[in-house]
Amino acid sequence: MIFKSLLGLCLFVGLVSHSYAQDPQDILVRMDALMSAPSDWIATVEMTITNRKGVEKNHEATLKQIGSGYRLYRYTKPENKAGIASLSLPDGDMWLFMPSFGKAIRINLLSKSQALTGTDFSYEDMSGIPYSQRYAATFENALNDSEYLLNLLPKSNKTSYSRILLSVDRKNGYPIQMAFYDKSGVYFKKAIYKYAKKGKYWYAEEVTMTDLTRDHSTTVYIKEIRFDNGLSKEEFTVDMLKNGSGNK
């Protein structure tokens, strides 16, 4: 009886200590897995861009994605942007379709630190490459009961950031907040995530990225999201980009 009790106590202590001594890189891997869990998804994206004077601009688009490598994004609002579409393929291959020119244009991004057309997200932020592949995580001291605080240091110097301070929800493993530091160590950008669960998947239903130096922010709302639609890679081609059949 005593032996059983001791064994039970040891197991309990072991479990508890395991949960606190979890490897920070594992937490990051788990977060990446959560973010790319659905095989594919289709959603409506609403975007509000707010400048330092408080002036807002609103965009709306449909989004189709397989994993993190294939993404088709087609504007529906405002009217003067309706029909403009972008296609992202693995290895940074990116195409843009502008209906009034009637052709798809290949975009070669010379700098990934550049902002995505008018937003506060850089191409690097939207690359879709898992964080665990790009960053090495360590624990920050400040821990609380509901969040892990991780310090992410880039594995390569080809990044805009010198580090990211990441808060991860302990229970579910999704990101809560990211603080981005530039190459000279200045905290200059932050992202705040609101995750929601639909079916078996967690997804960011709202993300706000704020550029602290420009006092400029972009909030993305994901709506009408549908997972596991059986999308095939054939739907992510330049022809599909041009003929508009990528819509819904």
Binding site: S100, I107, L110, L116, K183
Partner: protein, 749 residues
Amino acid sequence: MSDRFGNFSKKLINLKWVVILATAVITVFFGYHASRLTINADILESLPDSDRNAQLLKEIGVDFGGNSIGIIILETGNVYDTGAIKHINDLTDSVGKIEGIASVSSITNIINIKGDENGIEVGKLIDSYDLPDSQDDFDRLRADIANNPLYRGSVVSEDETSALIIFYLQEGADVKSVANAVIEKTASLDLPESIYYAGSPLLVSYISDLIRNDLVKLLPIAFIVIALILFLSFRSWAGVVLPLATSVIAIIWTLGSISLSGYNMTMISNNIPIILLAVGSAYAIHVVNKINLERSSNRPEPVASGLKAVTTPVILAGITTAIGFVSFIFGAYLDMIVEFGLFTSLGTLYACVLALTLVPAMLSLQPEPPRQSRQTEQPKTGLLEKGISKIASLTIRSPKKMLLFWLLIIITGVIGISSIKRSVNIQEYFRPGNPARKAEQIMIDKFGGTNPVFLLFKGDILNPAVLRAMEAASDYMEASPDINATLSVADLIAELNYAITGSRSIPEDPEQIQQLWFFLEGNETLEKMVNQDLTQAIVISKFKSPDNQSKQVFADYMAAYLSKNESPDYQIEITGMPFVDITMDQSLINSQIGSIFIALACIIIVIGLILKSMRFGLLATIPIVAAIAILFGIMGLAGISLNIATVLVASVALGIGIDYSIHIITHFNRLRTSCATMESVVSQSILTSGRAIIINFVSVSSGFLVLVFSDMIPLVYFGVLIAVSMISSGLAALTLLPSVLLVMNKRES
């Protein structure tokens, strides 16, 4: 009036300790506020809203993220080198983080769009996180810049030896602290390349530092020189300390008043201390001199009687000098010149009050020396007195010859006036070899200058007609020999269209423009070219020549274009520093002529009213008219241009020159009832006032000549011209005015 002054003198001496204590308390009070005085080196803030060019320039500053442009020039053997590119990147990053800077652009962060058979490339010219390090990388970069009309010769010089890091100040940013932070930050990087600074914020800040350093270095020397001459003249502590103390206290009170009124020090008000040193000491010199004369004449109560005799001329001198400075308010273009006029005028009145209160109060503390000692102290056989006697006898003996002599001098001066040049060229502020001058020269030779020019378009900016009009106006501007390049949103759209379609033009289809805009939207560069709701956009350019004539030619050239290119789709306006310079240049003449005439008229009226004779009012202005003719004649003949610094000299000449005349005229007025002949009236007037006048102009001129060692050319000229003005107005008051008085009153004599 003289009885009233007699009572005032006696009361003041009785209350000497109250006067001294009150002066000390007031000085501590103003000194405290003077210590909190801040410097505002932003010349743009001083531009008047009544001028459309200045107003538009300010509006563009607000709407397009600051038109106050600072430039760091990095000069090296060849910019296309990994080390140099890294240093430019470091500078760009560091400067961009300084508070008060809206944005920075350089070769390492500007947007680049180019097209080829594989599609288009969008991004920065250089990926700041993957800097070029091979010959291929540099060749590609070189080709990208050479092929892009937006950047050719604007971020890297065509000889590849210099690169620019251009920063824009936020509206309302503290120019001085931003400029200091930029210089400190750059210095902290300890770069091996040569670094120069150009552009208005850095230049103006540098100039105010130079002026301040000069004042700190040269003012004490000037002070010592003046003190030495005062000592040689008076041979007493009172003769040295009291005039200098009066000036210093007046300076403290004035600086305290500026601070209390909520104003800042500016490039112009930096000159107030040296001007008050000249003006302020004069009143005390006359008071000390007169009281000394009373003592040497064994008069009872010499302080009271001396003060009584000198009060009228000192008050008159104070009021007329103050009028000279206040006259700047009328016709001055820059607000900072108006502020300068007001506060220098106030400082003059402070000095006048101190000379009539503190100086006699201090002198009355001195025990009256015994009779014997008084006689030995009489300085009547000194060199100075011999000189004054010589001047008096020469004037009395041949007044007509003296008049002829002055007439010839004045005619020569008037001839010289026609050769006066005006200049608002900031390069002329520095000695050859000065880094600021070199920076301006690099900017002119390699980057098309630093003076911003803006064409403002109002309308639907994404309308093809508006964009094409911007393109056409840019082409027209670039045809001017003083415009190297222009930049506008039309260029970016044409460039992007070229990348996609191969045609470097504005698309006909408005939808195509909308979709090209999608590509550009959100780029920081756009905030400097187009407003948020796309109703206003600017064409940005720089004007090369510092020459006023070229600026006027360009203004006419653009006016002709604007008048022919009106459209219901848009309105075009033009502004920029060359346009402000043209108005400022014209205002130099207007304010100079206006302020001189207004001051002369006021002075004639004031003297006329106080001495109850308009004739005396008119006569008193003769020496200063002569001095001003000499001043401008020398400026014209010596090629010294009229600029925002030298424009101040005439007012000082007028302010001080009139004092000398007033002393001669008031003594003449007082003595003509008591002397037998007109010759003796004139002679006594010269002998009574001559000593103080000569001591004043010799001491202050010597002090100001120290400024020839200044690093700032305007200060050098300022020192020389003030010395010339003081000597000429002093000599004119001692010889020309008495000659006129003699000839006019010949019958009486």
